[in-house]
Every structure is written in C-alpha cells, then in structure tokens.
Symmetry: C2
Subunit: 265 residues, 2 copies
C-alpha cells in the first residue's frame, strides 16, 4: 500500500494523479491539516512533523512513503530515509527535476512557497544535473487562492501574472510547479507564462516514479501484499467541513475523511 502525506489537502492533487495513472492502486492519504501549512515553518519543525506523518502511515499499513509536500520533500527527505531505512521514500523534487532536465533547452523556472524557494533546493538539484539557468519565484498567495476556490478569477490571473513576470522576462522554456496546489491553476499559469513553455507537474512526475518502482518490485518477485480488494483511505489531523468541499471539487467525488491521531514526538 502506498502511503502519501502532505501538510494539508494539497497532496490530493497527487492522489488525483494516482487515480488517473493507476486507478486500482491501494493507498492511504494523510493531510496534516491541524498544522498546515509547513511552508512558513523552520526546518527542524518540518522534519519533526514529517517523521510523525510517516510513522502514522507506516503504522496504518503503508509500505512506501510519498512525500507529497514540497516543503517536506525539500527539508525532510533525508531525515525520513535515515529514520526508515527499509522503506522506499519518494519525494516530489527529484522526479520534477529529472523531467525538467529532459525537456529544457536551458532555462528552467521554478515556482513554489516561500520556504521551498528560499531553500534553493530545485536550483541546486537542477544545476547538479546540467549547466542551466534557473529562475525561481516564491508565490505565497497561490495556495490561499486555490483554497478560496478562485481557480479561474481575474484576481488570480493578475496575481499569477505578477508572480510570473520575472520568469517570463528571463524567457524560461520550462516551468516546474513546485507546490502540490499549483496543478489546479495550470491553465492560468500556462496562459500567463505562454503556450510554448513546458509545465512540469511535480505530482504527476512522482506518481510515474512510484508506479515504475512498483512494477519493478513485482517483476523482481518482491512480496506483493496487494491481493484482494483495492483500499483507499483518507486521514486528516483536523477535520473541517471545508476540506470535504475542496476534496469534492478537486477529485470530483465524495471523500470520507477520518481523523488521524498522530503520536507527537
């Protein structure tokens, strides 16, 4: 079973990708809505939260961990791999970086929360792979705009134009959506940055890697515990009516969220 966690409900875009790419896959989702967002918290705090989230997923039967949150991917992947050395840990940064490298002609843009952009993680990883120009922009208002449901509103379009303007001026040819909420704004982002720019959705990229890994494991005769029915479970650390509403809008169906009680360390 695939365990997916995020700082909140943003990671449901990863679930949406998983449902699209592998409708039969079993998974458990944990959104840490009680402590969302991670994007404005310190590295130590984000690491502590990520370890608690992963521990919850493993205790509930997950055999692999997908860190759907960019902030946690940037700050906590190493700590997760160290804490759970036998568990495959997938984060959203490496797959997006690889996909961007494979299509770019030399100028990659990155947008994300302030924490993700300040960490410089995408720039570092991109430049390790190839000698390219990277332009990053923090877009802290896009998450609240998505959560407000203003997915096609003039205010959102103006703010996206403002945030993307420095990237457009530098003529990026590829743009990494470095936050799980952003795929919901992909049409507006594509329009603002220009049709010729290739968008990289880090959620779609990581789901492809997870499924490739799963296919390889099964091929190599690894234990396949997934006989029987498909399981789909959704946990949140804080339940609110709003989460259900947003999930319905994003996934196009009703989701039953259960309350997760984390072991706080």
């Amino acid at each position: 079973m695939i365990g997916i966690f995020d700082s909140g409900i943003g990671g449901l875009t990863v679930v949406r990708e998983l449902l699209k790419q592998a409708p039969d896959a079993s998974f458990i989702y944990l959104g840490d809505t009680a402590r969302t967002p991670y994007g404005n918290k310190s590295p130590e705090t984000v690491i502590r939260y990520a370890l608690e989230d992963a521990r919850f997923l493993l205790a509930h039967g997950a055999s692999s961990i997908v860190v759907a949150c960019n902030t946690a991917s940037a700050l906590a992947s190493a700590a997760l791999r160290e804490a759970f050395p036998t568990v495959p840990v997938f984060e959203v940064i490496t797959p997006a970086v690889e996909d961007a490298i494979s299509v770019t002609k030399g100028r990659v843009g990155v947008i994300g929360t302030r924490a993700t952009v300040t960490s410089g993680i995408y720039e570092k990883r991109l430049r390790e792979k190839k000698e390219i120009e990277v332009v990053a922009a923090a877009c802290p208002l896009l998450v609240p705009l998505v959560e407000e449901g203003w997915l096609d509103d003039s205010e959102t379009k103006r703010i996206i134009r403002r945030y993307l303007s420095p990237l457009k001026q530098r003529n990026v040819d590829t743009l990494i959506l470095g936050c799980t909420h952003y795929p919901l704004l992909a049409p507006l982002i594509q329009h603002a940055i220009g049709r010729r720019v290739k968008l990289i959705d880090s959620g779609a990229s990581v789901v492809r890697r997870v499924l490739e890994h799963k296919a390889r494991s099964t091929e190599h005769g690894a234990l396949n515990t997934e006989h029987g029915a498909k399981t789909e479970k959704y946990f949140l650390t804080d339940l609110s009516a709003r989460s259900g509403e947003i999930a319905r809008k994003w996934l196009g169906r009703d989701i039953r969220f259960e309350k997760a009680e984390l072991e706080i360390s």
Copy 2:
C-alpha cells in the same frame, strides 16, 4: 504583566496598540507560528492550542491573558476562563461588539477569517445587545496578502473591493475588523467601504479594556507587581527569518523573538 497570545504574528497589531496606549506596560507575547493559522482548524483543536498557549504565558509570569486571535476568542474564551478561573481573560470580540453598538445607526458589517465568520459569533453577540442588521463576510485572502507585505497594492485593493462589495450594497454604517491582521489594511478597507463608515479595530478596543481593568485594579488596591523596569518579551513557537522582517515592518523597530517550547497536552 499582561500575557498576549495569537495564532501567529497577527497579534502584534495588538502589541502595537498597547505600545501606543500604554508605552510603559509590561507584557509577554506568544505567537503560535508553528501551528498558524487557527482559522481553518476545528473548535476542539483551537481550544487545545489556546489552553497550551495560555499555560505558557502564565508559567512565564503573566497575570492576565489577552486572546489576540479572533478565532481563539470565538472558540476558546469559555474554555480558558473555566481552566484558569482566577485569571482575567480578555478576548477581542466583546470589546469590538460594544464599540460597534455604541456608534452604529443600525447596520454593522463584520469581516474576518472563514472560521470566525462561520462561527457567527459577532452576529450573535451584536444581536444580543441591540436589534440591528449584521452583514458578515469571510475574507480568507487578506491575511496572506498582509503577510506577503502587499499593504498598498492594486491586487490587494481589488480583492478588498470584491470582499466588501456585499457589505457596501447593504449600506453598513459600521465595520468590525474581526481579524488582527486587518488593521494593517485599514486605509484600503476604509477607501473601499467609503469614508462615512466607522471602522472598529478589535485590537484597539481590547487594549482599552485591558488598561481600564488595570487602572481599576490598582485603584482598588490590588497587588501591583509592576514595580521596577518595564518588561517586554516576545516568543514564537517557530522561529523564521520572515517573522522578524514582518515585525520590523509593523512595529517599526527590531524585535528579538525567543523560541517557545509549549507543553503539548
């Protein structure tokens, strides 16, 4: 010593008011930045957090508690008074309601986070006092706009206009700023709603009540522990460079934040 807590740094507008109204008052501030915002969390979670915050302030010498956070004021005041029966607990809702009642001609507008507005607390309290019309609007994007520092930007102006449009149509004559971040947008809000509408800043209202209470206590010979130097302490549950930057901008001076370790219950 006055203890002030908020879900984050928004409560610094209450500190700003306190510094303005009583520059010599000693106080301790706690911003729960590790778990901010409270506005999208469930009542049980907000109550638990508020109790932890108050316990921290009392353990650090506070003799009264100001709940600077509207969400916590709405959801956790009763629980705080029950848990700490000998401690004066001030919340930001009652003073703003009283001030609005004293100036309105009959139509009061309320703006706040989604949680505050959904709770209906201002409407209920206003109508308990007087037969008036109340129009409330949730403005979830204003906090992130303030934290982005877009205090006088065209995007902010447009969004404020959009949020206030139903209140303007209903001709409110008084407008309660039901969130500690909003005083920083007061000029834009005043411009959008019209010059004749009276703005009620809940932070300014609560500080007046705290100082009145203090004056009365001293008059009545209550123990005055504030001989000696003025104390001013600032704690956050999560330190980030950004908080210092915002505090400097809001208070017009450098603030040294200390890391608060809460006892998690």
